[in-house]
Symmetry: C2
Subunit: 624 residues, 2 copies
């Protein structure tokens, strides 16, 4: 028996003791976070599979791991010898977990999962799906408990306050007032949430419990009388206690959330978001309030948080300029080395060397960029692991180079860098693709059409009421015209010193069930990131972050548009003006003019010289 | 008492006798048709209001007419002296009918309406809205019965067959097979509909009961065993009887529909479309089958009918060319007169005169155009009353000139003509706006940006799965960029020798509740009609009809695009090339090249000379 077979055998013992037919172990913490701490890697503990998306399903005679196309090769390798069947999600003939369970669950059987790690919506759906078979759920069992001996501790960092005047821009009591007004609109007087980013936003606090997401493990309950914040004891500082006292926030222990919900005064009506609450919390709410006294709704905090206030916007603008300057410096350094490598070439392609003569790889370059960001005064951490892909690696949208397998950079082809930071002044996210040397005409064509899409969206004017679905085609159409699509959304919202992906807004051409189509509102920020991904060849992505702003108001309505927040040149070496329109060229030249104006003060003289060249106006070839 | 007060007094007697507190009289026939025959103008009979949209609500001490902004001035004039209150829809403080009834209906009261004239959805909504007040509906009373003495007869024209090989392109049995397959997908074995266009389509028949819509008043019921077609006895010809016999269609009398539904064999499950069935029919279905044996769904026929088959497409292509040629001839004649008027001008602006020296008005011009269309060999009737507006009149989207009030045409400014015909080969709809003489720079700017939008949509390439919401912005964005919006959709579907507006597809940027957002599919046809409407000044609309076609299929998906069906020049006298992009100019020049190629064979030598000038390539001004 290999290690994983042994571990599964122990789990099966526990299942037998508890009368559980199938146990489901997803990749999730108690808060539906995008990234999970090591404590929560139970699925990895039992399967050996390390990918970011995967659900393990175990019965006495079956173990299957469901994961998506990004991970098929890796999962196959990592599952070898474990006896776990790889269930290739979305492949023809492969059922999803619900369908599989419907088929294989015995009549009157028991499905186990840790109710804290599954969101209310998914739990309810599974429950409804299996109801015809009279399946019972057992959700109070942690499958790692007693078996995972060297399990890491639950992360627990100190909570810090976000200054209301300087950074948050709105007091907690004002936010609570707006939340209660939203509750009232829905006839509710109580709100329960387990979404970490919205809890941080509501209480103007942050921490470091989840990598890249400056949040603390927490829950919140807001009733007519009180606002209760549930935190791990060790994350609470004296400063926070004083702040809570001043602000009328009741601090409770993290593990007290379930007893609290079960024992609270009967509310008029509880509003909850089935995607922002674990199944366990949902069950406790239902137990206390009863079905007719609960209302399922998108959390009002999502919308409130997404519309940035003037203080946040001021901070974001200045933060994005410094963040852009760091990326400019990085691009300058890398392209300078590429130029030098080409000049001194003894071999073709010529490898890039750093100032100490060591080869530059995707990994070392990413480290350098991360270090440049860390020099910014209010830097907190990265907003996601830097994606820096050279050549064919860039065709993988979520590629992350590791030290061992990183590709070395050569003075040819394209290099894609997608990166961002967490600062007291906001959260950044930016992608640029640039040439390290000679490129093909096809690369230029694809890059230029990507740029046209990016600039068309950036310069859009649209009526208030439009959603991301209305405007997505502006970014996608130039590539659709040549029969190319990128298999992802065009843009996402971004938090303020919070998650790099936040809703409710989203720029995409279609919405899968459960994805929200939200109206774009003044003060929201969105990414604008079209791309071309040719497997085994190369990847292009140009990502600029945009702020939704008001353009004008007249008898026809309120017209909105975008203000760019990111200022990093779009590589002119990759532009073929033949594929530009006069309009987009005008937008590009204006964008480069602003980039020079805003970024040059942060650069050295030689960096400035490079930026001046990079941002000089491009002439239109003329004619039709 | 004026005439309408007298009539209302008679209605109130009937209401008292029947214990009815409020009687609602909408503008509708039994089939939710866009245009209604005179027989159905009961609301006009009681109120004197002649507009196309309005609902009268009457109680013993109140009578109110709800209508929309287009008709406020007209309604005020027409209602004078009737004692009927004008309820201005969507004005602040004006409740809609449901809200008004909620407030004024007595507890346990009775609402009357002719259940045949209200669709199932609306009836159900009113019923639900008034349920808290325990209101009963009385729906079996025709409010005109016994009171409207000289009521016109129900229209009743002869049904004719559409040849399957030459025109319909699919046999009735094939259509029925597809319909039954769709029913099966929904677990249903019975379908009931009162939508005239889908009944005509299903049975490959047409008639002339509704102006501009070549349909017969009818109902259809399709069960596992039979397909029953309900027609007025006098509309049935021997040819139809033979066809019905051959095709296994059961012909029933129009007035037998309710008894039939009440007496039919209990079906497994009935599928109905709450927007395609009257409340009376719905109630009969419910009575027979019971709630759990009915399923509400968009009618499968809507989708089937919207995707044109190869025979229909072949016919539509040829029909649109001849229809376009008629409009070209008309524009040539009018603009030639405008030129002559300007040359011989004794006054400015110079009035246009016809060949007999009579002044040309909006009305006489429309008559001329209608006559040119009627010369086409398979012409049946107009597809809607021609909208021909000169100067400020064109700013009214649905303007229809009448003989008395029609404006005369002068050799200056712009003239908008929106028109179409019904032919055995299809239904057309086209709008062109053209100059009759000098125009302002602003007119040119607005016209050119309208053309850019029109051409951008026409040349779009988009992934299969896109809806009208995805592509709408391509047509609207050039105008949005200068803060102008047109207050209507960009495009609608069009029937085949059927209604000029048909669903389910629609090109618009937002969808009101009840409006469908349907995927654009290969074989659908849609209009592309952006415009500028400046009240009191001028109106611009450019409408070309497009066929959805496949462009290519590859690993990224199936890409679709549009093939133009309409070929009428876009007036170069109104184009300012400074507002064109090289791309749209390329599309425009190519469109004009095709227009010359396809239309010139139908024109006389001097008409050809005009068309050659109009379709000559336009040069790009160059530079950025």
């Amino acid at each position: 028996m290999n290690l994983y077979q042994e571990r599964l055998a122990l789990l099966r013992d526990v299942m037998r003791e508890n009368g559980i037919d199938f146990f489901m172990i997803p990749t999730a913490d108690y808060h539906q976070s995008e990234y999970v701490a090591d404590f929560f890697k139970t699925r990895e503990f039992y399967s050996g599979f390390t990918g970011s998306n995967g659900t393990l399903l175990v019965s006495q005679d079956f173990a299957g791991l469901w994961t998506d196309g990004r991970y098929f090769i890796q999962a196959e390798r990592e599952l070898e010898g474990s006896g776990i069947v790889l269930m290739r999600m979305a492949d023809p003939g492969v059922p999803d977990i619900g369908t599989y369970l419907s088929g294989h669950m015995p009549e009157g059987g028991v499905l186990g999962f840790d109710g804290r790690c599954v969101c209310a919506r998914e739990g309810m759906e599974l429950s409804a799906l299996l109801a015809p078979k009279h399946v019972r759920l057992k959700t109070d069992l942690d499958p790692a408990e007693g078996i995972w001996q060297d399990r890491p501790a639950l992360p627990c960092t100190k909570v810090f306050l976000l200054d209301e005047t300087e950074y948050a821009g709105e007091t907690v009591s004002s936010k609570l007032g707006r939340l209660r007004a939203e509750l009232k609109k829905n006839g509710a007087d109580c709100f329960v949430t387990g979404r970490l980013d919205e809890i941080m936003w509501l209480f103007n606090i942050r921490a470091n419990d989840v990598e890249c997401n400056p949040v603390a493990l927490s829950y919140a309950v807001v009733t007519a009388e009180c606002q209760a914040l549930f935190l791990q004891r060790d994350s609470v500082t004296q400063e926070l206690e004083e702040f809570a006292h001043r602000s009328g926030i009741t601090l409770c222990a993290y593990e007290e959330i379930l007893p609290f919900l079960r024992g609270m005064d009967q509310p008029e009506k509880v509003l909850y978001d089935a995607a922002g609450l674990s199944y366990s919390l949902y069950a406790a709410v239902l137990e206390r309030a009863g079905e007719e006294k609960t209302v399922q709704k998108d959390s009002p905090l999502q919308q409130m948080k997404a519309v940035k206030n003037p203080v946040e916007i001021r901070n974001i603008r200045s933060c994005y300029i410094e963040d852009s300057a760091a990326l400019c410096r990085f691009i300058y350094r890398i392209t300078r080395r590429a130029k030098k490598a080409a000049e001194n070439a003894e071999q073709i392609p010529a490898p890039l060397l750093d100032e100490e003569g060591r080869p530059v790889t995707e990994y070392t370059a990413a480290m350098e960029l991360d270090a440049l960001r860390a020099q910014i005064s209010d830097f907190v951490e990265l907003s996601f692991p830097t994606i820096a892909g050279y050549g064919p690696n860039a065709a993988m949208m979520h590629y992350e180079a590791d030290e061992e397998n990183a590709a070395p950079l050569y003075a040819q082809g394209m290099y894609l860098v997608d990166s961002g930071g967490q600062y007291l002044r906001g959260t950044t996210d930016v992608t640029r693709t640039f040439a390290l040397g000679p490129v093909t005409d096809e690369m230029k064509k694809h890059f230029t059409l990507t740029a046209v899409g990016n600039l068309q969206l950036q310069s859009a004017v649209f009526l208030s009421g439009c959603t991301g679905k209305n405007v997505d085609i502006l970014s996608r159409e130039p590539l659709w015209q040549i029969g190319i699509d990128y298999k992802c959304g065009t843009g996402h919202g971004i938090g303020y010193l919070l998650n790099v992906h936040e809703g409710p807004q989203n720029i995409r051409w279609r919405f899968a069930p459960g994805q929200k189509e939200a109206v774009l509102e003044e003060g929201m920020i969105v990414s604008d990131e079209p791309g071309v991904y040719l497997e085994g060849q190369y990847g292009i992505r140009i990502e600029t972050i945009l702020l939704v702003t008001k353009i004008c108001e007249n008898g026809d309505g309120t017209f909105l548009g975008f203000e760019p927040l990111t200022f990093v040149p779009i590589d002119r070496n990759l532009i073929d003006p033949a594929y530009l329109t006069p309009q987009t060229l005008r937008v590009l030249n204006e964008y480069h003019r602003m980039t020079w104006e805003k970024i040059s003060p942060f650069l050295s003289e030689e960096e400035q010289e490079w930026l001046r060249e990079q941002t000089a106006p491009i002439a239109f070839p003329g004619g039709v």
